[in-house]
Amino acid sequence: MKIDRLRDESKKLKVFSIEGELDVHHVKNLKSEILEELEPAGWIYELNMDKVTYLDSSGLGMLVYLKKEISKHEGRLVISNLHEPVRNVFSLTKLDSFFEIT
């Protein structure tokens, strides 16, 4: 798994472009790497999933956790560029309405 980071101070935006398969093995890493990047308040955290080829309930669980943590930091989690079949896992579990997906 690979994470590319992009930080836009003026927009208070951080983009994490993730590459790889989000199963229980790869989720731990990603979680801690993003938690480290949380800012005080008002930031947007975009997870660009363009290069995520696989996601399962372990990946979803991490995203739920991240969204809750980000909310505590008064930030917003945005998930972008979901491909089928990754998008499918969100709809299967009805989490597509819980997350802000663009």
């Binding site: 229980v24 399962d56 079949p85 499918n88 896992v89």
Partner: protein
């Protein structure tokens, strides 16, 4: 068991691919399992959606073995047995879990957003047949999951192609 699935399982066709894997109980092996599954069904030309559903359900099942039954103890191992034809994808997971009671697996409330509890729900949603068999004596568990591939009578995957 649904009579149609029972029939398919009992009369597996001659052009069957039969694959057994013994895998280490490490989360690292999950991607290996997905690759081998993809390789073993490539000739069936399944839709992307269907292939991913099969990978997803199998991974969820193996994740549960690694996480719940083996508590990430990598010295443990489990077995996968995959049987495919153009009509059916059947996978069995053999592992050890003394005291496991499948009836106790909770059904999640999708309105209550939690960080876990979706794995078995996903498996049951994707697969046409899911059956845990436990042997109290030996502590061995056999999980059978079946997906019917025949598009005309199944939904052909959870998502559009």
């Amino acid at each position: 068991m649904d009579i149609r699935i029972k029939n398919l399982l009992e009369n597996l066709p001659a052009n069957l691919t039969h694959l057994k894997m013994q895998v280490q109980g490490s989360s690292e092996t999950l991607s290996l399992i997905r690759r081998v599954i993809a390789a073993s069904v490539q000739h069936l030309r399944l839709s992307n959606a269907l292939l991913n559903d099969i990978k997803l359900a199998t991974t969820e099942a193996c994740t549960n073995v690694i996480k719940h039954a083996y508590k990430f103890d990598e010295s443990m191992s489990f077995e996968l047995e995959i049987k495919t034809s153009d009509k059916i994808f059947a996978v069995e997971v053999f592992y050890e879990d003394p005291g496991f009671v499948p009836e106790n697996i909770p059904v999640p409330d999708l309105n209550e957003i939690k960080e876990g509890g979706l794995g078995v729900f996903i498996i049951r949603n994707i697969m046409d047949h899911v059956d845990y068999k436990t042997d109290q004596q030996s502590g061995k568990v056999k999980l059978l999951m079946v997906k019917i591939l025949d598009k005309l009578t199944s939904d052909g995957g959870q998502s559009e192609d």
